[in-house]
Subunit: 595 residues, 2 copies
């Protein structure tokens, strides 16, 4: 029996006892689905992931795509896998039945996606980027573009990409230089993009790039950026003709190696056609409308990559005899499994707390996404605000703390973990990307503190406070240790006070002063948010134990992880609050020549 990718029972617990899938299924949008359909969807993806995707992981990591005659060629094994991967139905799972989708909650789709990501993280991107491109066209494209591009993307006959980053601009999208010149019904596009995941491959006959570019004469900065659909092959009569999109090179990434990342040149020969999607100069807003979902998916890859490594290190620790308990001085007694050593238990429980805390947060966000899209009345707006607030956390926490978990999974393996004959090192490499793509952790910190907690005079943070209070009430009723409830509640008050203080600092001394500690703020805010989720899980575990549900050890494990997170992290949050409060400014004041 192979290790689980995501612990099955835990996923079930989070979906049903913590996040509450059933309440979503009561919405009209999801009326045709019941719990059994959702479970079956997840289960089929889980099975395929374990049986097909995971066994191919090592091979695709070892032999990444190659560039030959200007074309990125994926591994032959991936060619074999692709039809099955495409036909899982994940691209269209969340779209409405009107356009051929299954109209499933994002919560269910994401729970399924996590298995693909845990089994073979880079491969999901072929689907996810296609989902994103199709969604953009659906939301903003002209009827003609929809007619031509939507079906092949949703079916996975073609794939999509997001072409934002340029070599000279990086995170600074304001400095995008790719140009678009009107030419009849289309534009002529020219410019260079870099790090384009799935930017070229030979899995499908066409690739649809969603490209940010400037229309000639557009204003400088982000207010002059438009969104274009630029296919690799443009439909021309009944056939596909090359569209002057060239692969300038492949990036030699240290992870996510099953997925080609390309540098692309558009319009080297002046013949690259692009079609405007949405309004001129409104491209960034359109792209960001999709970005939130993409960021949750990246959060998913963080959780999934930490999860599979946790499961592997747990299985290793259980099977690896080494040493004896400290109290046993008899060197002739047999060695014990390393799960008996305190420090190994610490490394395992911390991984668990990170993985499952991240999982709960992520699936809460998926539920909020469903409510924001398809809920009714006040709940809809409220969910959108809360989702916007939590998205930078759901994107960065699994990346940052997930990386810590991946390091621990390696460390549990000792010297063996340092060898490429074992998998933890590969997952560590994969995880690192998650703090970089779709907005670096630094960008997420600025987004959280500079925008999300500040909008509508802190409305989102107030809503979060109400949610935390509801969790505290549930936990109190369920008989969770009052000290944990108090710790989460008190920390919330301190976070609120700090936020107010930073807002005032911003009003008095400007954005630079307010945002000086945005990285620390993201860190402490995330720890608190995850503590909230652990309190919710503790409440659900207590309720289950009171109901006599078994196995008891499963629920005791949740309580232990909740205790670990709340009791070890809340004091660290206090420490970070102190640093922010004091406005420790050494890195602002250090002279440039003093580094």
């Amino acid at each position: 029996m192979p290790n689980p990718l995501i612990d099955d029972r835990t996923l079930d617990f989070v979906l049903h006892d913590v996040v509450g899938l059933d309440s979503l299924l009561a919405l009209p949008r999801f009326a045709e689905h019941d719990r059994a359909v959702c479970d079956a969807t997840i289960d089929s993806v889980r099975r395929y992931s374990r049986e097909v995707l995971f066994p191919a992981y090592r091979l695709l990591d070892a032999e990444p795509p190659v560039l030959r005659e200007g074309r990125a060629l994926v591994h032959p094994r991936l060619q074999e896998i692709w039809p099955g991967l495409r036909d899982l139905g994940l691209i269209s799972a969340g779209r409405s039945t009107e356009i051929g989708g299954q109209q499933l909650p994002f919560l269910v789709t994401l729970a399924a996606i996590l298995h693909v990501q845990a089994a073979n993280c880079p491969l999901y991107s072929f689907l996810g980027l296609t989902t994103g491109a199709a969604h953009l066209i659906e939301a903003f494209g002209s009827p003609a573009l929809k007619e031509r591009y939507l079906a092949p993307l949703l079916e996975g006959t073609w794939t999509g990409t997001m072409a934002l980053t340029e070599p000279q601009a990086g995170s600074s999208l304001a400095d995008i230089e790719t140009r678009a010149t009107p030419s009849g019904d289309h534009y002529l596009v020219s410019g260079s993009k870099i790090f384009i995941s799935g930017g070229d491959h030979d899995l499908t006959e066409n690739i649809v790039h969603m490209v940010l570019a400037r229309i000639e004469g557009a204003p400088a900065g982000v207010k002059g950026i438009s969104l274009f659909l630029v296919p690799k092959m443009r439909p021309d009569g009944g056939r596909l003709a090359p569209n002057d999109v060239k692969v300038a090179g492949l990036i030699h990434k240290i992870g996510w190696r099953g997925l080609p990342a390309a540098a692309l040149n558009f319009g080297e020969e002046g013949d690259c056609h692009g079609w405007l999607v949405g309004e001129p100069h409104r491209g960034l807003a359109a792209m960001f409308q999709m970005m939130n979902e993409a960021r949750l998916v990246i959060g998913g890859s963080g959780v999934a990559t930490a999860s599979v490594a946790y499961q592997e290190s747990l299985a290793y620790a259980r099977s690896r005899p080494q040493g004896r308990p400290l109290a046993n001085r008899d060197a002739s007694s047999p060695q014990v499994p390393i799960t008996e050593h305190a420090d190994v238990r610490r490394m395992l429980l911390r991984q668990k707390a990170i993985v499952e805390g991240g999982l709960a947060l992520l699936l809460q966000c998926a539920r909020l996404s469903d409510l924001a899209g398809h809920g009714e009345g006040e709940a809809k707006a409220r969910s959108q605000l809360l989702l916007d607030l939590l998205t930078p956390v759901a994107k960065s926490f699994p990346a940052e703390k997930g990386f810590e978990a991946n390091v621990l999974a390696m460390q549990v393996h000792g010297g063996y973990g340092y060898s490429s004959e074992h998998l933890p090192e590969a997952w560590l490499r994969d995880q690192k990307l998650n703090s970089i793509h779709e907005g670096t952790t630094g960008i997420q910190g600025l987004d959280l503190l500079g925008r999300k907690v500040m909008v509508e005079k802190g409305a989102a943070l107030r809503i979060l406070g109400e949610e935390v209070a509801a969790t505290c009430a549930r936990a109190a009723k369920a008989g969770v240790d009052p000290a944990w409830i108090a710790a989460v509640g008190e920390t919330g008050k301190k976070v609120g006070a700090l936020t107010g203080e930073l807002a005032r600092r911003g009003q008095e001394r400007g954005g630079e002063a307010m945002l000086l500690h945005s990285a620390d703020y993201l860190d402490l805010f995330s720890s608190w948010v995850v503590a909230w989720q652990w309190l919710e899980m503790a409440a659900a575990a207590r309720e289950a134990l009171a109901d006599g549900r078994t196995p008891g050890a499963f629920y005791e494990g949740k309580l232990a992880a909740a205790q670990h997170w709340i009791r070890t992290e809340m004091p660290k949050v206090d420490a970070l609050i102190t640093v922010c409060h004091e406005g420790e400014e050494s890195y602002r004041t250090v002279p440039d020549e003093g580094f």
Copy 2:
């Protein structure tokens, strides 16, 4: 001009203004050396490291040794480099002139070694392991063994290894199973060792393995382990004959790839001769006598690997334009170097604080090693106690926090950092080994809390307290911010109180209870110790500024990094003290099936 490997001026500052090399040179042992000789030694190694070793780094990382016909073959480029590397004189630098050494302080040798490690980390091990083997033979070997083996090792004609680890035992040396059976003047050795660095290669005609094994009938556990010299080729008349040491395989390490790590089988054919070094059953004690120096050298590789990455990320950040200051809303203004963004400055200053804090600690330990070996009177014993206390910190801090620094160096590079076309990812891989080899971080935590702070009723910790008090006095006199001095002093008191509390917990409830938080204790103790070093550096910087020494920005940079470390880390130490004090025990109580 290439980036520095270790900032030259900082090394000079630490050696002379912080650690005080001159006072060591006053000892009789080092009477023949003056500061100019020391500087010249370091400078020649620095130059060779930059000009020869660093340019070969990427190549040797990309093309590791291969096993062919039972023999590990290093890269041809390493074959070319080897004579120059060997002839740097680092193997014998610290040994007495009587046996052909240069009798240099270890402080100077280590400062030189750091450049080799920063330039091409794995290559130093060929020298370092040889130094260690020679030192063991010098200290414990019979006159015949010394006569035969010492000169070729010290000259680097042969190299040495430390063969401790066995596949079934890992960190649990008590479970070593390699056997030695008396046979005339020698023993017949049989058994398997794994992860033996430099265990085979084709750089020299012979390799001398220092092997831990059990003599037939020895007691179980660590009290039955003896030390043997087992050459790959045994001197037989005037020639070298094969000694039945077989390479079972090479480990595919993810870093340190210039250095072969082998699984070795001794005595497959019953013809592997070994010679006892020291007393029977006292092998572990002998090995550990050398281990302290080895652990400082590993600390060196941690500092060096973080240093070279810091320098690279600093140079990158200075040359990479991206975005604008928050206050500048003019998107048509030119982009600024990313060193102007607060979060990038944070990532740079934190790297600096880790790298230079680790450097100072390490060189303090090297000085203590010199005093413990060659000092006089009370200072000698005092230095030994303090060195023993600080060694687990000097070994693990650069590995753990150095890894954090290496992650930041990658993150500063953004998407480019995730590519193997840039070096930060390679240094990140290299760094990871330092938390594993020569005793994992978990082992260092047990060593610190279970042994080092407890010996002689806390004598070492009292000595450290006196040293910290002396630093506080120097800092006060120099005009360092009193808040920093108070923070370091107060934290020291809290660490002392916690240590007393844990000692009592051990007396009342046993070692398991005392050591439950050994990892947290190591972490908080290390942060405090490094804060002590930053306070010392702040004092030295203030003194230099008062003397009008230039450039002022250099000393201001030290003050900024000191401020960063003390003001951000001391609150975190408080948080960890809280966790230890409360005895948070979730990972002890969690049921095995609850993970």
